[in-house]
Amino acid sequence: EAGVTQSPRYAVLQEGQAVSFWCDPISGHDTLYWYQQPRDQGPQLLVYFRDEAVIDNSQLPSDRFSAVRPKGTNSTLKIQSAKQGDTATYLCASSPGLGSYEQYFGPGTRLTVL
C-alpha cells in the first residue's frame, strides 16, 4: 500500500512570492490534514477535510493561506505572499475516517522563506 506522498520536498522563496504544496493521501482515506511544523516544534493543525468538505480551518491564516480538496482525493495548500515566519515543514496526513483516530503522515515539504 502506497503511503502519503507530497511534493515538492523542498521550496525556497523570497518574501512576497507564492507557493503551492500538493498531497496525495492513502487510497480510500476520506480524511486529510495539513499541519505546519516550525523547526524544533510539534506539528500544528492548519486545516482538515472529510472528502471534499472543510471540517475545520480555524487555524489557517485565511488572508494568505488557502487549501482545497476538490474531488475528495488529492489536496493543495497554497501560500500567497509568503513571509519569513512561514518558514516551516508542511506535513500532510490522512486517516481512514470515522472510527479511526490514527493519522498517517507524508514526508513533508520543507519551506524556507528568505
Binding site: Q41, Q44, I55, L91, Y101, E102, Q103, F105, G106, G108
Partner: protein
C-alpha cells in the same frame, strides 16, 4: 483546552540502556493518546496508540507506554535502546468527543550514545 506537555526537550541515553520519555496531557475526560517518531527529514510514524482499555499498550520496535489518569500522563518506555532509535518523539492527544484532530507536544530529541 486540551494540551500536551513533553517536559524534556532532549534526552541522551547509552545504547542498551532503558528509556523513559515523559508526556503529560491536559484534557477533561478520557482522551485517545499517541506516540509518534520522526526520523531526520521524514514524516511522523505511529509508534503506538491508547484507546480506553488496558493502560499499558505495546507498540513497534519494543516500545510501550502506560496511561495514568490520576497523573494525566502517558510515558513512553523501552527496555533496551538501539542506535537506530535516535529520533524525535512526539506525544499527541485526540479528544474522544468526535473531534478527529491531533494535538501534539513539542517533542523530545533522543540521542543514543555508543
Amino acid at each position: 483546552a486540551q494540551s500536551v506537555t513533553q517536559p524534556d526537550a532532549r534526552v541522551t541515553v547509552s545504547e542498551g540502556a532503558s528509556l523513559q520519555l515523559r508526556c503529560k496531557y491536559s484534557y477533561f475526560g478520557t482522551p485517545y493518546l499517541f506516540w509518534y517518531v520522526q526520523y531526520p527529514r521524514q514524516g511522523l510514524q505511529l509508534l503506538l496508540k491508547y484507546y480506553p482499555g488496558d493502560p499499558v499498550v505495546q507498540g513497534v520496535n519494543g516500545f510501550e507506554a502506560e496511561f495514568s489518569k490520576s497523573n494525566s500522563s502517558f510515558h513512553l518506555r523501552k527496555a533496551s535502546v538501539h542506535w537506530s532509535d535516535w529520533a524525535v518523539y512526539f506525544c499527541a492527544v485526540s479528544p474522544s468527543s468526535g473531534s478527529w484532530q491531533l494535538i501534539f507536544g513539542s517533542g523530545t530529541q533522543l540521542t543514543v550514545m555508543p
